[in-house]
Subunit: 195 residues, 2 copies
Amino acid sequence: MVELNSRRRAIEDVASELFRAHGYAATSVRDIARALDIQGPSLYAHVASKENVLWAIVDRTAGRFEGAADAAIGAASGDVQATLAALVRAHARVITEDVGSAGVFIHEWRALTGERRAAVLERRDAYERRFRELIEAGIATGDFEMTDPAVAAFAILSALNGIPGWFRPGGRLTTDRVADHFAELALRMLQGDTR
Amino acid sequence: MVELNSRRRAIEDVASELFRAHGYAATSVRDIARALDIQGPSLYAHVASKENVLWAIVDRTAGRFEGAADAAIGAASGDVQATLAALVRAHARVITEDVGSAGVFIHEWRALTGERRAAVLERRDAYERRFRELIEAGIATGDFEMTDPAVAAFAILSALNGIPGWFRPGGRLTTDRVADHFAELALRMLQGDTR
DNA sequence: CCTACCGATCGGTAGG
DNA sequence: CCTACCGATCGGTAGG
């Protein structure tokens, strides 16, 4: 069981990186196998299909985003600004901690079909709603400057979701610094008055 | 000649939408042909290869971004804030005016190979540099609040590049309203002090 | 985890 | 712009 799970996890890790770099459709089962030094068909001893591998990555990563957001909201003290900052920091950290799977979740969920695709869309909408409703609440209390909450939420989330495109682990910026920067920028965006 | 060009343009428009919706690798030459009500091989009377179609879309769209940025900087009066607002508005409008080709430019350039891929990367870097250097200049003059210019530039551009993911032409927001919102949010982000 | 192999589909060509 | 067709590669199976 440990054997099986660790092998599956290795497959998902390798696939995450390939899917992120080249896209799901442009990555063949044999590409994944080659990165693991096994033959293409041998992969099917561990997984039932290529789409199942994508699903495993997307589902697990969706759970990481949701769990991090839950923890951030739970730990916050009811202060709208602090809650938003915690939410942004949590999202940034989920990405920087594993750029591969985060990139796949953000861009490759479209390759899923049927119920799985619909389920991801629903979870993504619910996740985005948390940001939007928090922004709406902040505007209502006067903590945030007036703005279109939907546009602001999309702007913040898109800015965060662009991180895999430029962040390099071990590079100039640490995981924490990136999270700090984005929390700061998001708060400025919602509070600043243009002089 | 007019015939040829208009036919090529129709191919690019149809391909833009398919590449944006499903990705370049997941879109077959026959998919493009079907959307034009012709047979797959007939497409090769107008284009030399599938990658050439992608290249035509990416190259033209890159030019539209660059041209819009040139015009925005040229029209601005030297005021750093106004210049950044104009740059952001221009970028937003290029996207909302043609979500298909913009989405392809933003996400599918990775499918290009060799020199074309390298050329796009170089142009993209030069384009990003304009944002970064303008932010650096604004910080130096005190017009913008202190921040990491690279992170701020990536945040603004990623926020803008997320527009194809949610903007629906003919929907609640017009092209101009979206441009206004993003210019406002970008300025707030760079000017606001967190209280 | 391997070799041998399957049907389907891919981008593209020949010849009209 | 069409039909007929090509070699290559795809995801996946059989049988060990």
